[in-house]
Symmetry: D2
């Protein structure tokens, strides 16, 4: 790369959790610089954030429309290369559409949109504009998740039979869970689902990413345990896959005492894998005919290509931000390849995964409301 890739940001104002994560992830490898932002719907808050980030005042905007218009007008050597969207779900779609229309590449937080229909329109727009679109399913960029994917691809598990993903959080166990919680359970800002939309999509994405299989049918039971909420805060979804495998996704945001307990297990005819996000540098391999193996990040028996996703020797813990940074750094390389007119095979989730996650969310919600056992995912 000849220069750092220039990033703009919509959302991620004061009090936002995920905004800070996007910025730290973008910063970590030194390939990206934040050059502008419209951090809040409240211009004063946006300015406060810009000052904290040492941005020049001229590059702090009152809203995203203003930002896209003015950045577009800047000389090529100055204007942002891409925009990160870190706002509540409901606004992803209009912001992303306008960014693409203005010629900017996009990094978008998940879930991609408010509805499947929006996701499909966004996909069409991305295809038409041929711009880059990255969906930050960061868990898929943990090195040991990539190790799992590689081991499955090479047949280490035999035929995959059963896949289980569980994601438990306790943060919404009480009715009053703070400001961050408000929009999450508000159908006007979050969409048709809170819990499945927020964390079920992580589970769905990770399962399909790691195994290369597709969920074909779901049977769901969503719950709302905290009185007064209008969206789900817990759910179980039984799954069937295109190769005959079965499994389930279980999610909860009212799992008192759980921090961010995301786990996945994949069972095949010859062996199985288990990974816990809270202990992300371990990948457990079990089989009936061998002693248990624990693959460790940056240690022996790592599959090809995975070393490139790490920064430290084994035993020096890497975590969430590093996984997130793997997405950003790969995206920066993709942008650079565009600038340099070179070929580049992206290794980050795209708008296609976004369509897929919305199909999952909508099918699950519909199934949960009905008495029919199984519902097919739309293609």
């Amino acid at each position: 790369m000849k220069r750092k890739i220039r990033m703009g940001m919509v959302g991620g104002g004061p009090g936002s959790f995920i905004g800070g994560v996007h910025r730290a992830a973008a910063r970590l490898d030194g390939q990206i610089e934040l050059v502008c932002g419209a951090f809040s719907q409240d211009p004063a808050k946006s300015k406060a954030m810009a000052a904290e980030l040492f941005l020049p005042k001229a590059r702090c905007y009152d809203n995203y429309a203003q930002m896209f218009a003015r950045e577009r007008a800047l000389p090529a050597g100055e204007r942002m290369d891409f925009v990160t969207i870190a706002t509540p779900n409901v606004t992803h779609f209009p912001i992303a559409m306008q960014a693409l229309d203005c010629g900017f590449h996009v990094v978008c937080d998940k879930p991609i949109t408010f509805s499947l229909a929006e996701a499909r329109k966004l996909r069409d727009k991305v295809r038409k504009t041929r711009l880059l679109f990255c969906l930050t399913h960061n868990y898929s960029a943990y090195p040991m998740i990539r190790q799992a994917k590689a081991l499955i691809a090479k047949g280490k598990l035999g035929k995959v039979r059963k896949i289980v993903a569980e994601y438990d959080l306790g943060w919404l166990a009480a009715a009053n869970a703070g400001k961050q919680a408000v929009w999450r359970v508000d159908p006007k800002r979050s969409g048709v689902s809170a819990c499945v939309g927020d964390i079920g999509t992580h589970a769905e994405h990770l399962i399909e990413f790691v195994t290369g299989l597709k969920i074909t049918e779901v049977c769901a039971d969503l719950s709302t345990f905290v009185i007064g909420r209008s969206l789900d805060d817990d759910g179980t979804v039984m799954l069937r896959f295109n190769n005959g495998a079965r499994g389930f996704i279980a999610v909860s945001e009212v799992a008192s005492g759980e921090e961010n307990q995301f786990k996945i297990r994949i069972y095949g005819s010859e062996g199985s894998l288990e990974w816990h996000q809270m202990n992300p540098e371990n990948l457990i391999y079990r089989s009936n005919t061998q002693a248990m193996r624990i693959y460790r990040r940056s240690w022996a028996e790592q599959e090809p290509g995975i070393a490139a996703l790490t920064r430290l020797p084994a035993g020096h813990p890497e975590g969430f931000i590093e996984a997130f940074a793997n997405i950003y750094t790969n995206f920066a390389k993709a942008v650079d390849a565009r600038l340099e007119r070179k070929a580049f095979k992206p290794d980050y989730p795209t708008v296609d995964e976004g369509v897929r996650e919305m199909a999952f969310v909508e099918t699950v919600v519909k199934n949960s409301r009905g008495s029919r056992k199984w519902s097919k995912l739309p293609a």
Copy 2:
């Protein structure tokens, strides 16, 4: 107690896993002595086992009918007090019925019978004979399971909202899994279900035991992954409970590489508990407002009565046999109380839990075959 309680045994011949467990558990605390047996349908094998156990030849029988008849004819100071049934499921019912008819108390391996109808008949017989009947759901006698039950009963979790039990074994992952495996997947000997019948019943029992709640509805997806089997070897069952709680039981006997991975988690409005059978001396308590606690067997903050279920100081591992022995030793006390005409409140699973487990199995199997989402458990 004035003397050891005398035990007879049906089943548990050469090659049986669970027969040896019953004998070791009965032996451990020195309150029970094995005095006779009909260990196999093959009298020669039965004799071989009796010799190995140092039993006098006269107390080794060719079959259970002979055993019950001859033992009954012995003087009170000599004949067995109770019989343990450790045979394949299909024979539990006739053996237990005859034992009760002959006046013997019964310890029966789980699942209790071949069908719900049999279980109900057996319950009637137990009630009529007023004899003691113990179903060896040994997992419920682990001290930390009792700690969990006590903590839930005293409200430590608030209102219980979600219950998850997962039980994964790898031993049937391949088609040819040895002699023990043959009868397990044979509908003529095992019943309408292999996997749910064998280990789903453990999960169902433990959930209801620990929480005091009742499963009211199930939605199930059972699978048979190994070609040629006519019974399930894997399944997921979504659950609804009588207090509004939800949850699921996930079981597999084709989970390659898993040993005996039985785990349970209970989430309430104020906290949650997690227990793993393979690490049975830990009970994890989590809440949103406290640091994680790990209760340890025989350590501080143990609820009343639990110390009586242990033999060793903390840090000296107790395991599966000790939990099993807790059932046997409590049953021995119950028999002794009968002998001494004293009151005794049994603390082991009974025929009622057996009826319950068969209702669960049959409802799950039926639901899994149909297209209706939810099925109610019969009362």
Copy 3:
């Protein structure tokens, strides 16, 4: 075996921890029956224990001298085959000497005697009488310890370089730690060391057992943290071995909050092993060139002969009593071989290991008191 082996017991009266362990371990596999005992220096307590154990009154003795004399006078078909000594250290020697003089095989709790001099005399007596003598270093009979020994013997670690054993207990952290604690820290009953004598000997034995190496020199720093005690309650001992390896033993009985935290690690030029007594079914193997392996009891990649030391399939936890029972059951086979005049290679710790442990204790205590850095262990 034609019959159960008959055991007598000295010590292990009401309130004794280790007495109950010996009995449970002897009972577990059904190869041994307790036939008599002198359980306490107080005949009334001895009788109370005998009644609890359902022993006939005639076989409950007032003291060990009486027991040995009367048992000896019984017909061969009735008298005890061996005696277990489970008394405070100071009395091991006279009881064991007299038992051997009376022709009884001996099982003795550790540490073997009060002093190295006694241990050597006892060794001479055992050699002269050619009777069987077993020292219950039970930790050495855990299956995964045997796995470690086998792996080291076959060169899996390359050349052994460093050995670490740590044993931490919290039970003596406070001055008043109950009745059991009193004799442990009383030099008249315990010997020249409390902590090194009680648990340092376990560490010393396990190290030499697993590696096959010999400690040649020690440099020690023993401490007494609780005021008023005259013996050590904590210590660190640096070690040098006969092959050039180094290492240390660290022991504490004032490690607040620790249950029975005994761990061992062995590092070689090609790999290393780690085992924790509180998680005894795991044996961790690490190397610079492979993913971590965890060997599990009764699972794949188990070395020959180890399966015979287990009773249950993998994942059904075995613990402390099972390891202890491995010692007893092997000893029972040795006694049986004597009865049957058959050859038998014992697989339990003997009087030789007892001499070794006393040499260790005395050298450590002496070194700790002096200003010389290193002290050689007597041959």
Copy 4:
């Protein structure tokens, strides 16, 4: 802060592990920007690194002397504020001295210098210049280490009695361990010790940091296992403390299969703490009178001030770089306070800790070579 703090760097050229860590840590929180460097003794390599880091050519220097001279000549609004020294040990002293003489604040990798004498001279220089000096003992900035320090300070353990730190690496188990290994075991570049100097200093620092106690005497046994090395690659050091506590540090760089296994345990009269660097978000508290507690980063029961050392909610793993960044970000605040002429209480290790670590290293090495048991640390 009004602007980012400007950093220069000496060392950290192509192939350096720790150089990249310093840069990532400085970058993570967005408070520091790297503006110049002399990354290698080879100017071509330095230029290559500068290009990779998108630095302007003018700010890439051939050597540190040139860098200090030219940066000093730049206008205040442009020149670097501080220099990070990430070179082999032998050069820390001359570089740091010159930087201070040129008026630059210093961040220096550990161990601080080649010898205790140098460390003392450096301390004098720091005091004389009144410039800021930060020694990057990054482990002390893990949030759960700060939690441990706070709990000990408030008396949660009672009187501290025993302290154990173990640090095991396998990377030098073989003779040929790569380029990074060469200077580490070269006495001309590393100093009087390899293993104690490299990782023993981490252990010594962390122990004194967490407990607030001082090591007063040591008794050491250092080893060199790999033939041909002239410095230690393994060692055990028994410790005595100024409050009467005891303990030990055990270090190895030939512990085959270990990644970066750094653990610390502190035992007091009322409780104990355990922390593992490879699982840094857990802090285990044990006591004889309570169930085990595991404090978790960003969860409940966190002591005051610790939340400021984290970026993510609990369960989103933070690791090594985040701890390192805590040091950098605090140092940046200290520099900013100087710029703004505000008071600031630094919360990072300083030159005083550097003198202390060199006193430890030299005393340990001397003791290990002699036959006297204990050696006092110089004041």
